[in-house]
């Protein structure tokens, strides 16, 4: 791994689900890179460093964003749209992590330039496997420009 570790921004309103992701990352020793916000508005604030996220030390620029679709205040799709419309953030890969398997959600996500679409598995081991694969894929195999 090179230079600074890649920060993962998790946008998830469900405490339990956030906990699942964090635990999985803990096993892969990635938990220290995980930043969690629980609604869409907070995610945008985090990226723009406002409303309590102004400290660059505490809220470092993420290298990848894990985004739930159904979020309070500002909807996940809205957040995605805003990220991809902003030239500062559009290069950041956005991976959708949601319970929804609905076709229209996928279509809308990809229409808005989501980089990947993952469905939360109901099964425990599959969830663990998914998070593991995610870590390998995005943080080990995937190459980011400097």
């Amino acid at each position: 791994m090179k230079g600074e570790p890649i920060v993962i921004l998790l946008v998830e309103d469900d405490e339990a689900h956030a906990e699942i992701v964090r635990r999985n990352f803990e096993t892969s020793h990635l938990a220290n890179r995980l930043m969690h916000v629980s609604d869409g508005q907070a995610a945008l604030d985090y990226l723009h460093r406002r409303n309590g996220f102004s400290n660059p030390e505490k809220s470092p620029r993420p290298g990848i964003i894990l985004l739930d679709l159904r979020l309070p205040k500002v909807d996940g799709l809205e957040v995605l749209k805003k990220i991809k419309a902003d030239s500062d953030f559009s290069p950041i890969p956005v991976v959708i992590l949601t319970t929804s398997k609905a076709e229209e959600d996928m279509v809308r996500a990809y229409d808005n330039h989501a980089n990947s679409y993952l469905v939360k598995p109901v099964d425990f081991s599959q969830f663990t496997k998914l998070m593991e694969t995610f870590g390998y894929y995005w943080l080990a195999w995937n190459q980011f420009p400097h």
């Binding site: 309103d13 469900d14 405490e15 339990a16 689900h17 906990e19 699942i20 635990r23 629980s38 609604d39 159904r70 979020l71 309070p72 205040k73 949601t98 319970t99 929804s100 609905a102 939360k120 598995p121 109901v122 099964d123 425990f124 081991s125 969830f127 663990t128």
Partner: protein
């Protein structure tokens, strides 16, 4: 579908245009061929009516072609050349109209085909002024209908007017033909031919269609309403047939009655004259009879003949005879002896007797009877006389007569004026007296329309169309024929008994039928008015029907649209509901199963802290699921489970709902203030209470760290509408998120407990009572106020309340 119908409609208009123009063209071609190939039947339609003029035929072909071209190449027709041609045509036709009216006939009209002859006194092969006028109107209508903006413009009205005028004129003339009394015949002006009129009728219709459905325009039309219009069309045809039939029958009735009246009048006059003539003859013969076989008179004659120098007897005789001249207005009375010498004349110096009379004397003497010498001309004074010849006989019967007394009558004095006299006012009526001479009829009196006819005018008896000839041949009664001038007449004929005379009382048909003609014109005009009226009525009904149809359709479409919109909304709501429900239900399942996995691992590891944490997550998730399912059930009940509605005061409902959440209120230390306006509600008590319950719960939940939390409940009866409100001084809502708060499963704050159903539930209840709900908040930290109305649950509002 709509465009398809539209095309179909336009096509049918174009089709009818083509058919009409081809009929016009065909009639023209047939007539023209008739003239060129010398088959006049083709031009006159195989009738004895006037034929179509060659130039009329030619122009009909031109106009038919023009309509065809207009249909096939609608855009090319709008060039300046076409408009100029139409203008020139119209002016030319007006010129023709003037020419034809003033009876100036131009040989060029015949197209160098040799046409001579007349039909009923009218020269054949010339354009009628009516046709010329129709052509001018057609040109005008055609050029006016060319304008692309013809619809709803003044031009369209003018074009319609011209076409309508053509139709009206044609209709009048065709009806007159139909009634068997065509107009303008026997007049001086050329009447329009029947085939010309039919062609014009078609042309007029084509022009009407050109204005209604100009070819080359795609006009947004009302939906197809052909079905009612077919029925209406049939109705119109029925009405038109009825009108024409009634008109025809009433005309026939009038003609019949009128004829009977005329015949009665003529017969009466004829009988009157017959009797008077008979009387007159008898009187004259009676005059003679007084002298005949009168012993005193004959002896006086004998004395005078034997001794002519005896002045006394001559004086006596002169006195006697002179009385006749004075009393009975004889032209002269004279004594002629057996040698034929006029012995005595009273008054003296009268013209010598005619040889025609003298010839009659011997036979009169031989017959020994008083006789009447019929009309004769005296060759000396060229005058016409009649005479009574009285032979003078003495008592000794076989003895030859002494001579004759001639009573000469001048018919000018009494007879002719009497014959001439007509008891009613008339411009053509007269009485003819005729007698037979060989195979000829001789007119005995002077006539109204010909001079010097007495004993001069003769007609062969085989001219049976002449009432005079038929009268001589012994026919009595009413008859029609043509008189000495060749004029058609109606006549009553009589034979005068004991005489060679026949009498004809006659009138010109033109005069007899003038009132009939006037009546016909009245009836036709009335029929035209009725036909147009019927057309207008049917048109109006059709218009109303189509309007009604359109309105109904529009209303239907509206209702459908509304329904489908409602359905769409419901569908979308359901879809959203299913989507969110499945999502929100899946979330806790994922949580439970995953943490069960963690739990297994942690149990194996024996990590007590983690185990407790795992269990807490599982518990929370299952609780959330349970709550969610409860709420969903509650939600689905709204509007489905109906408890009987009751009257309930606003304050009562609010207190009931406050009681349900009293625990939370006191826990948070919220002050509640309720303002009542005495509003009464009518509805489902539990549901209504749920509104305030949820709103208050919501307000308590989002109090934030407010030191003095307050909730204000009330109703605003401003503007006659009760607007309920629940106001708090809690955390408020960011204006950006205000629209989302009523959505199902929507939570603005993930940290706060609840399923996100509460406000969606409130909204559904409010909507059940046809109310609206909205939220107002100045922003985060500014407090929130929910407003809602319950239109169908309001019983009364006290006016003059707050606001």
């Amino acid at each position: 579908m709509e465009t398809k119908g539209l095309i179909k409609r336009n096509l049918s208009a174009a089709d009818s245009l083509i058919i009409l123009s081809i009929v016009v063209l065909g009639i023209g071609v047939i007539a023209l061929l008739g003239w060129v190939l010398n088959l006049p039947d083709l031009a006159s339609f195989w009738t004895d009516l006037i034929p179509m003029a060659p130039d009329t035929a030619f122009l009909l072909i031109v106009y038919g072609l023009a309509v065809c071209v207009r249909v096939w190449a609608p855009l090319k027709c709008r060039s300046v050349w076409v408009i100029a041609a139409c203008g020139v045509g119209a002016i030319l036709m007006l010129f023709m109209f003037v020419l034809s009216c003033t009876r100036v006939y131009w040989a060029g009209e015949h197209f160098w085909v040799n046409i001579i002859g007349t039909v009923k006194g009218v020269p054949v092969g010339h354009m009628s002024p009516v046709s010329a006028l129709c052509f001018a109107l057609a040109s005008l209508s055609f050029v006016l209908s060319l304008s692309p903006s013809a619809i709803r413009s003044r031009r369209a009205v003018l074009a319609l007017g011209c076409a309508g005028l053509i139709l009206g004129v044609c209709l009048i003339f065709i009806l007159a033909y139909l009634f068997g009394t065509p107009f303008l015949y026997e007049g001086k002006i050329v009447p329009p031919a029947l085939n010309t009129l039919i062609a014009f009728l078609m042309l007029g219709l084509a022009l009407l269609i050109l204005v209604w459905h100009p070819p080359g325009f795609v006009r947004r039309q009302t939906p197809d309403v052909s079905e009612p219009s077919t029925i209406l069309f049939l109705t119109f045809i029925l009405m038109a047939t009825g009108i024409v039939t009634i008109g025809y029958l009433s005309y026939q009735q009038f003609v019949r009655n009128y004829r009977v009246e005329v015949e009665r009048q003529l017969s009466t006059i004829a009988d009157l004259k017959l009797n008077l003539l008979k009387q007159w003859r008898l009187e004259r013969l009676g005059d003679g009879a007084i002298l005949f076989r009168n012993a005193a008179f004959s002896s006086m004659i004998r004395r005078f003949i034997e001794r002519p120098e005896d002045a006394e007897s001559m004086g006596q005789l002169q006195g006697w005879i002179g009385k006749y001249v004075e009393e009975f207005q004889y032209d002269q009375v004279c004594l002629v002896d057996t040698q034929g010498i006029r012995r005595l004349v009273v008054p003296a110096n009268r013209t010598a007797l005619s040889s025609a009379l003298l010839k009659q004397i011997p036979s009169a003497m031989q017959s020994g009877k008083v006789s009447l010498c019929d009309f004769y001309r005296n060759e000396i004074d060229k005058r016409i006389y009649l005479a009574i010849i009285v032979p003078i006989l003495e008592k000794a019967a076989p003895a030859p007569p002494l001579g004759v007394i001639i009573l000469q009558i001048d018919p000018e004095i009494y007879l002719y004026p009497f014959i001439k006299y007509w008891p009613t006012a008339s411009t053509t009526a007269e009485t003819l007296l005729v007698r037979r001479e060989g195979s000829e009829a001789v007119f005995l009196n002077n006539l109204r329309f010909k001079n010097n006819t007495a004993l001069n005018l003769r007609a062969p008896l085989n001219r049976v169309s002449m009432p005079a000839a038929r009268a001589i041949l012994g026919q009595e009664g009413i008859m029609e024929g043509s008189d000495y001038r060749g004029e058609p007449v109606v006549a009553a004929t009589r034979t005068i008994p004991d005489s060679p005379w026949s009498m004809v009382a006659r009138m010109d048909k033109a005069e007899v039928y003038a009132p009939v003609r006037a009546r016909l014109f009245q009836i036709i005009i009335m029929m035209c008015v009725l036909l147009f009226g019927a057309g207008a009525c049917v048109g109006m009904v059709w218009r109303r029907q189509s309007l009604h149809f359109c309105r109904e359709q529009a209303a239907g479409a509206d209702a459908l649209k509304r329904n489908s919109l409602e359905l769409q909304n419901k569908n979308a709501e359901l879809e959203r509901f299913l989507y969110t429900a499945s999502h929100d239900l899946k979330s806790p399942v994922v949580t439970v199963r995953t943490f069960l996995g963690f739990l297994e691992k942690d149990l194996a590891d024996g990590d007590a802290g983690r185990i407790e944490k795992d269990l807490r997550f599982i518990r929370t998730a299952t609780e959330k699921m349970g709550q969610l399912l409860d709420d969903l059930l509650e939600m689905s009940r709204i509007g489905r489970v109906v408890t009987p509605p009751v009257r309930i005061a606003f304050r009562e409902v609010v207190e009931e709902s406050l009681g349900a959440v009293a625990g939370r209120i006191s826990e948070r230390g919220v002050t509640i203030k309720v303002e009542d306006q005495g509003v009464m509600l009518y509805g489902d008590r539990i549901r209504l209470a749920e509104i305030w319950q949820n709103l208050v719960e919501n307000a308590v939940k989002f109090m934030g760290d407010q030191k003095a939390p307050q909730i204000h409940i009330g109703v605003d009866t401003h503007n006659l509408e009760a607007i309920f409100y629940v106001r708090d001084n809690g955390i408020g809502i960011d204006p950006r998120h205000q629209a989302k708060v009523f959505e199902l499963f929507e939570k603005l704050n993930p940290g706060v407990e609840g399923t996100g159903i509460g406000l969606a539930l409130v909204k559904r209840i409010v909507e059940l009572y046809k109310g609206r709900i909205w939220v107002e908040s100045a922003g985060v930290g500014q407090g929130t106020c929910f407003y809602f109305t319950l239109s169908e649950a309001i019983v009364n509002i006290k006016i003059g309340g707050r606001g």
